[in-house]
């Protein structure tokens, strides 16, 4: 490059950098986050905290839209349409259905809005939807990791009987997590040659109901070695086992999301492995990417918030953070 | 007070200058009426004449917008049907004052249940007494029903009216208001009701019989009062008038 061109390039860069913050101050970044869950789900409160904290840091105007009915795709779509009407700079959404969101996302993209999928992605990924990036955990991969982590605790000899609790049959997040666990079990059976069998039940999304159903199953199938939940409701099952006088570890328990009750049961020894979706990160990261996209034209990139498995030795440290909603 | 029931003393119930508006309609325009003890008064008029409004005020269901009601000479302010019942005014409403899903015994004592033990206004029902006394009360009006535990909904229209009358008598009413009591009744049942009203009069119970059926009214009452457009347009002893006269006035 000639000296003149270097100078102009440098000047341009300097101008952009200097103007960047000024531009940001002119029109605050506005973001709409519409997901499929209701406000009473503790996991999403963690996401919201990450979202709100990040927005505060970049002075963005942010709104998170919850549904009234847990998992309702129609309500979520309606929220998205309402959110788009205000012409935000960025839209974050959970793609809990492979087809329902394709149109609205395409329209948003056509209007120049940055679209990032969070927490749940189209199962065909970028090929199935016009979203620019996915921030979250691969559900199938997470399920697989959970199964793998728990298998370290399987009894050394004898048949292995597993109960897979699908919390919400038909919903992407639950089915995929279950699929991941089962995939691992299949691979494990093949590679180890052991007698492994499993069953799927509709375990429910209520602490009381899950505890009742799984408790009944476990009582009638005392040979069950492990129970996997696609959510956090196995914490109730831990209680039921304790009440029945079953010692911790006799029936392995594992699931998703780290809430204080789960950590409590990890300390007592009833729960051995738990997947941490790192909800805070799922709320925080997309905001930063939207900021970079708006101000510097940088394209959002996929972020895997981790196949982080939490084990009982970490429970104490996490307790404090969990209570604040940071983990 | 001497016990002579036919003395032309204070009327047992009287209305003075009653006015009432319903949704902008002047339903009662200064109605005044004296009713003597033991009278069987027939109240007639077309729909919208104000009969139901007048009755609802006398039975305590509604309060007049102006004017007053007196019972045995004393002005009273009835804040609800309960007050009226306490004063001895019982009303048998057109669409039944019975709850069809409850038994005869429970209906008879509804709102005034006899209690075995009580705290304030609440207490444990004295069911034995309720059953026994319902049977007696019903027999007193000439009805023979198999069991006080039968649901009122299973009874015929006439039987239900009979139970309603039995109830009013049981609680020793001074004034019995019957709002269209012969509607939907068979010929036989109608005759029974008419005969009943006459006998009540003989017992010194004052009756106000409301009906649009002039034959029934004339058959049971000794004084006819006709209303039209919220006012009283005729007030004569039954013997001095006829259904035809009434028709012309209405």
């Amino acid at each position: 490059m000639t000296f003149g061109k270097k100078l102009s390039a440098a000047a341009a860069l300097l101008f952009t950098v200097a103007a960047g913050p000024a531009l940001a101050q002119d029109a605050p970044l506005s973001i709409v986050f519409a997901h499929h869950s209701s406000a009473s789900n503790p996991f999403w409160q963690a996401v919201k905290k990450g979202f709100d904290d990040a927005c505060a840091r970049v002075d963005a105007s942010c709104q998170m839209l919850f549904t009234q009915t847990e998992g309702s795709v129609q309500e979520q779509l309606a929220n998205i349409e309402a959110g788009l009407a205000r012409e935000p700079d960025a839209l974050f959404l959970t793609i809990v259905d492979n087809a329902a969101f394709d149109d609205v996302v395409q329209r948003a993209r056509d209007a120049g809005i940055t679209v990032i999928a969070v927490n749940v992605d189209d199962s065909e990924g970028a090929a199935g939807n016009a979203r620019q990036a996915f921030v979250g955990q691969g559900f199938v991969a997470a399920g697989y990791a959970l199964g793998q982590a728990q298998s370290a605790n399987f009894p050394e000899e004898g048949p292995i009987r597993v109960l897979m609790g699908i919390s919400a049959p038909g919903q992407n997040w639950s089915e995929q997590r279950g699929e991941g666990v089962i995939k691992f079990l299949e691979d494990y059976r093949e590679s180890s040659g052991r007698d492994v069998e499993w069953e799927r039940i509709d375990s429910g999304t209520d602490l009381g109901v899950t505890a009742d159903r799984v408790g009944a199953y476990l009582a009638s199938h005392p040979e069950t070695n492990a129970y996997f939940d696609t959510g956090l409701w196995h914490a109730g099952v831990a209680r039921v086992l304790a009440d029945r006088g079953v010692p911790p570890g006799e029936v392995l328990l594992g699931g998703f999301d780290v809430v204080p009750e789960v950590l409590e049961q990890m300390k007592t020894g009833y729960i051995q492995a738990e997947v941490d979706q790192q909800g805070y990160m799922q709320g925080f990261m997309p905001v930063m990417m939207a900021y970079l996209a708006k101000n510097f034209g940088l394209s959002p990139a996929d972020v895997d918030t981790g196949q982080g498995i939490v084990t009982p030795d970490q429970a104490d440290d996490l307790m404090e953070l969990s209570a604040q909603g940071l983990r | 007070m001497d016990g002579n029931p036919t003395a032309a003393a204070t009327p047992v119930i009287s209305a003075h200058g009653l006015h009432k508006w319903y949704s902008g309609v002047h339903a009662l325009r200064g109605v005044s009426l004296d009713i003597r003890q033991g009278e069987a008064l027939g109240l007639v008029g077309d729909n919208g004449a104000g009969k139901s409004t007048l009755i609802s005020i006398l039975s305590g269901l509604h309060a007049p917008d102006s004017g007053e009601v007196r019972v045995e000479g004393r002005p009273v302010r009835m804040r609800g049907p309960r007050d009226a019942m306490d004063l001895g005014i019982e009303t048998i409403y057109q669409y039944n004052s019975m709850v069809p899903t409850m038994t005869i015994a429970r209906n008879l004592f509804i709102g005034r249940e006899p209690l075995k033990a009580r705290i304030g206004r609440f207490g444990i029902l004295d069911e034995r007494r309720m059953r026994a006394e319902s049977v007696a009360a019903i027999a007193d009006v000439g009805l023979h029903l198999r069991s006080p535990d039968a649901l009122v909904g299973e009874l015929s229209g006439g039987q239900r009216q009979g139970v309603a009358i039995a109830r009013a008598l049981y609680f020793k009413s001074k004034v019995l208001i019957l709002d269209e009591p012969t509607n939907h009744l068979s010929v036989k049942e109608t005759a029974k009701v008419i005969q009943f009203v006459r006998s009540l009069s003989a017992q010194g119970v004052t009756c106000i019989f409301i009906s649009h059926n002039l034959q029934h009214v004339f058959a049971s009452c000794d004084r006819i009062v006709a209303m039209a457009h919220g006012e009283i347009v005729l007030d004569r002893p039954a013997g001095e008038t006829s259904p035809e006269d009434i028709q012309t006035v209405l």
Binding site: S40, D202, G236 | P81, M85, R106
Partner: protein, 327 residues
């Protein structure tokens, strides 16, 4: 004798009981004898008293002619309030009292708004359902507080009592309250007023019954029972989640209707509502033990519930049609 049979068949509780017995037999066979085993019964008697308590309150209110759809939210709000107060240092008894008082206020509001503005209670309590659920999230700050089990006489409410540790204290509480409610409805003048108010409001009013007060009292009882039941569940499972009790209102109404309570008021009994609740739990529990596939589970519940109500209705019609000669 025949007359006795005719009368009995028409009593809705009997029809529901016969169905219950039939289902128990069927599930006993399908689960290879496990359904009635001690282990399963012990588990069954965990959730059942909590649900049945809610059903009791809802039944009473329905007999009075009104609905309460907010019971599920109150079920979560009361223990959440209690838990939050306790984290602020309140001792158990005042915290519990405050929670129950909150239920009284909610019940009062439900009733007062319905009567004062002459709107259907269906709508009032539907609105309250959302408001109370939201309050639960607000009160918890989004993150469920830890319940300090040391400070709570949990054993008073949920410990196992009696021989064989089959029955919990919660069952006894439930029994006592149910008997009290049944007595209230059947043997007191208040109960007579409730039936009259629900059976034919104009007649009740004309006979001087303070129907507004009767209804409001019924609303209050309903909310208090729901809150109390929620407290018991939280003591049993340890965690006051904001999502507890979601969907409970529909189950409670279903229980009342299965047990013979009329949707139009005036007809029904506490016993019927309880049998209905037991029936619903039996269906759920039995299907888990019969190893119905997870994805078909909800279908089975729905189908059996419909069958239960049809069976109920059919038995009653048979009873009505029985010919008994008059003498």
């Amino acid at each position: 004798m025949r007359r006795l049979l005719k009368r009995s068949l028409q009593k809705p509780e009997l029809a529901a009981t016969l169905l219950l017995i039939l289902l128990v037999v069927v599930f006993q066979i399908l689960s290879n004898g496990f359904f009635l085993s001690e282990a399963n019964l012990r588990g069954f008697l965990g959730l059942m008293p909590e649900m049945a308590l809610v059903a009791t309150g809802v039944t009473l209110l329905m007999i009075c002619g009104e609905f309460d759809l907010s019971v599920g939210s109150v079920f979560a709000l009361m223990p959440m309030t209690m838990a939050v107060l306790m984290t602020q240092g309140w001792p158990f008894l005042p915290a519990m009292t405050a929670g129950l008082l909150l239920c009284v206020v909610i019940g009062f509001l439900n009733g007062w708004l319905t009567i004062r503005f002459a709107i259907p209670s269906f709508i009032t309590t539907l609105g309250m359902l959302f408001m109370a659920r939201s309050l639960t999230v607000v009160v918890s700050g989004g993150f469920p507080p830890r319940l300090n089990m040391e400070a709570i006489p949990a054993s008073l409410f949920v410990a196992f009592v009696g021989p064989g540790s089959l029955v919990r204290a919660s069952f006894l509480w439930f029994l006592a309250i149910a008997l009290l409610m049944g007595f209230l409805l059947g043997r007191t003048n208040f109960g007579n007023w409730v039936r009259a108010t629900g059976g034919f409001l104009p007649a009740a009013q004309a006979m001087g019954i303070p129907t507004a007060r009767v209804k409001i009292t019924a609303f209050i009882i309903c909310s208090v029972l729901a809150g109390f039941a929620g407290m018991i569940q939280v003591m049993r499972l340890g965690s006051p989640l904001p999502s507890a009790g979601e969907g409970l209102e529909l189950q409670a109404v279903a229980a009342a209707v299965i047990g013979g309570t009329s949707l139009w008021g005036g007809i029904g009994s506490i016993l019927g509502g309880i049998i209905g609740a037991v029936l619903i739990r039996v269906i759920d529990n039995g299907l888990v033990l019969s190893q119905v596939d997870g994805s078909w589970f909800k279908f089975a519940i729905g189908a059996l519930t419909i069958l239960a109500v049809i069976g109920n209705s059919w038995l009653r019609k048979r009873g009505q049609a029985m010919k008994i000669s008059e003498h």
